[in-house]
């Protein structure tokens, strides 16, 4: 089989993994592991290199080592019983290809994952070999993201953590019941225990970093995971609570949400003809941003009586309409955290308001000038005591005014990389 065929098969098999981030890692020259002159670096902001025809960003060469697999998870395109064409890279082949793509600036690095061949640790050894070639033989100092193999030994996870920038273990489903139905042989524990291992080792090596200058870095880009949405009966409340727990207890950098795309027929799964729940995925990303950057808790957004995110309006808007007595807020007085809770005001706008109002009191026109988008915010703010909305509405009416137009704003925040950067900059 030639390289072209392998690349098609193993690229296609990897495309359902949504993470494409290449951000959060800094690799200075001193981080290079090879003896020769190194090539590559990692930009803390992350860099997108292209956008595929589905609009998702391509940053890393995302491929599987092999799509042969011992497991038979019913949601997965690469399960054992599927008779799709199978292929495998050799470590040398893949390392060389990565280098050639990198030198042409097609990619920011490698995202490597794999089906399970022979045993989890045997598979891990193939991944480790590939990374070792890249880091030592080719002196590659760019970004590498590796997905650990479920059931891999702690030693293998640690070994790969010293070669990669980011390591992820995919949770896939938030409850053991769902896993039992669809992924026999996997438990939540199989994903959570490597996460805990990586977290602890990162903290240790973080402390070590204070002393020896050249101490090897362990998973400098942090961990992420992925949850599949819409294949089983989990509600948004379960998913968001799980995300919150992962951010808090496991210091994860990102949780990715992947709208389930039916690739197999199975009695426990949505019909093969059903469409992926892209709007639901979008709402989960919005809620996820509220957890990470807007200081919301999952409990505030959803609870046992209110278990799914609203489709009509975004989660922050929904929260504001349910807590309408807290509005309107005066933009010249409200503190940063309160401004962040106003629908339509993001971290960038909130920071600009706080900076600009030090110099002069802000009227409505000033907000427009400093670039605050007022379409939604106008219903929730006062400028110098004045309310500027075209109508003064009760929450129910307001909800229909603020509803997203069908099909509009379907872009998933996952792809909004440049906006993402703006969030972090100022």
């Amino acid at each position: 089989m030639d390289l072209m065929q392998k690349l098609s098969i193993l690229g296609e098999a990897a495309r359902y993994d949504v993470s494409c981030s290449s951000s959060g890692s800094v690799r200075g020259k001193h981080a290079a592991l090879g003896k020769g002159p190194s090539i590559g670096n990692a930009a803390p902001s992350g860099i997108c290199h292209s956008w595929s025809d589905d609009g998702r960003c391509i940053s890393l060469l995302k491929v599987l080592m092999t799509n042969h697999c011992e497991y038979n998870c019913s949601y997965c395109i690469n399960r054992k019983d599927n008779d799709n064409p199978k292929a495998a890279f050799t470590p040398e082949e893949l390392a060389a290809l990565t280098m050639e793509f990198y030198k042409r600036n097609y990619i920011e690095g490698l995202f490597l994952s794999s089906g399970v061949v022979k045993s989890p640790d045997h598979t891990m050894s193939l991944l480790i070999e590939t990374l070792t070639l890249l880091r030592r033989k080719y002196c590659f100092n760019g970004y590498i993201h590796v997905k650990t193999i479920p059931g891999a030994s702690p030693e293998a996870v640690i070994a790969i953590g010293y070669l990669a920038d980011r390591v992820s273990a995919n949770i896939e489903f938030c409850t053991d019941e769902s896993l039992k139905l669809l992924a026999p042989g996997k438990e939540l524990r199989t994903a959570l225990s490597p996460m805990a291992l990586i977290r602890d080792r990162r903290e240790e090596s973080g402390n070590l970093m204070m002393h020896p200058i050249r101490s090897p870095r362990f998973v400098p880009g942090g961990q992420s995971t992925q949850v599949i949405v819409g294949a089983t009966g989990e509600r948004d409340y379960h998913i968001l609570s799980m995300s919150e727990r992962l951010y808090k207890n496991y210091s994860l950098k990102r949780v990715y949400y992947s709208a389930y795309i039916p690739v197999n027929s199975h009695p426990n799964l949505p019909a093969i003809t059903s469409t992926p729940p892209i709007l639901r995925e979008h709402r989960l990303y919005q809620a996820d941003f509220l957890l990470r950057f807007y200081r919301f808790t999952a409990q505030e957004l959803l609870d046992n009586d209110n278990r799914d995110l609203d489709f009509e309006v975004d989660p922050k808007c929904d929260w504001a309409l349910r807590n309408f007595e807290q509005f309107p807020v005066e933009v010249n007085k409200a503190d940063y955290d309160t401004l962040l809770r106003v629908p339509g005001i993001g971290t960038l706008s909130a920071k600009r308001i706080v900076a600009a109002r030090r110099l002069s009191r802000l009227g409505f026109e000033d907000l427009r000038k400093i670039g605050v988008i007022l379409k939604r915010a106008v219903y929730f703010i006062l400028c110098d005591g004045k309310f500027h909305a075209p109508y003064d509405l009760e929450p129910d009416m307001l909800r229909s005014v603020l509803a997203d137009k069908q099909g509009k704003k379907m872009a998933s925040p996952l792809q909004m990389r440049i906006e993402d950067l703006d969030l972090l900059r100022v």
Partner: protein, 250 residues
């Protein structure tokens, strides 16, 4: 009202601004090519070492970010940006600090927008430039070089130099701005230079297609058929960037 005319370079611009401020007259600065006949003007001479001197002055009085803000804004080539930069510096001198947060003042907002715009374009091209390996032969011998070309809207070529020189420290490369006919040349180490571009130097020397074909195929494989979304694709990667890509979007 008097105009100080400069040669189009950043040094020339700063020299003209310096002369304008020294004269304490009402006035502005303008590129040679933009000056209209019969408008009273003075040709500003380039002051040696002005970039360093001016930068030092700005960062000492108004903070370290200001020289970069002004350099980026100038390179954005937005119409009327000279005027906005002068207003921005005047305001800084008046309030004795960097006024970059005062976005409700017109000239500050225009500078901030220019800064953002060129920063965004630079960041986009960090990802979207595509290099091709080319062989060349000259008197000194044969060799290979990685070559990329683009037509940026802003003059962001020099802003890409450090990023690519650091990343491809030991790889010789050239990036050509085909709109402005100049190129960035890096041979080895962190050193680079900007030169006039001669489109004939690589005539007929394109060799390899293997990796381009692999990349094209990979690119098509990455799209999930159930999620095809051309609108999202072109909003993330506007069509003006497609011309020099290897892959074939859409």
């Amino acid at each position: 009202m008097i105009y100080y005319v400069y040669d189009g370079t950043f040094e020339g611009f700063l020299s003209a601004v310096t002369e304008l401020f020294r004269s304490e007259r009402e006035g502005s600065v303008c590129k040679e090519e933009d000056i209209r006949p019969l408008i009273p003007h003075i040709e500003a001479e380039v002051i040696e070492g002005i970039t360093e001197k001016f930068g030092e002055y700005l960062s000492r009085h108004f903070g370290r970010a200001m020289p970069e803000t002004i350099y980026y804004a100038f390179l954005s080539e937005l119409p009327g940006i000279e005027e906005a930069i002068i207003g921005y510096i005047r305001l800084a001198r008046k309030i004795r600090k960097d006024p970059i947060d005062m976005l409700n003042v017109d000239c500050v907002r225009r500078v901030a927008e220019a800064y953002k715009r060129i920063g965004r374009e630079k960041h986009r091209y960090m990802g979207l430039l595509r290099f091709r390996k080319l062989d060349f032969a000259e008197d000194a011998g044969r060799g290979e070089i990685f070559y990329a070309e683009f037509e940026p809207q802003t003059d962001c070529l020099s802003l890409l130099a450090d990023h690519f020189s650091d990343r491809f420290e030991n790889v010789p490369f050239m990036i050509a701005d085909r709109r402005r006919n100049k190129c960035l040349l890096h041979l080895t180490g962190n050193d680079w230079m900007i030169r006039e571009f001669d489109p004939d130097i690589f005539n007929g020397n394109s060799t390899e297609t293997l990796y381009e074909k692999l990349w094209q195929r990979y690119f098509k494989c990455m799209a999930i058929p159930e999620r095809i979304n051309p609108k999202l694709q072109s909003s993330n990667m506007p069509k003006k960037y497609w011309k020099y890509l290897v892959e074939e979007p859409g």
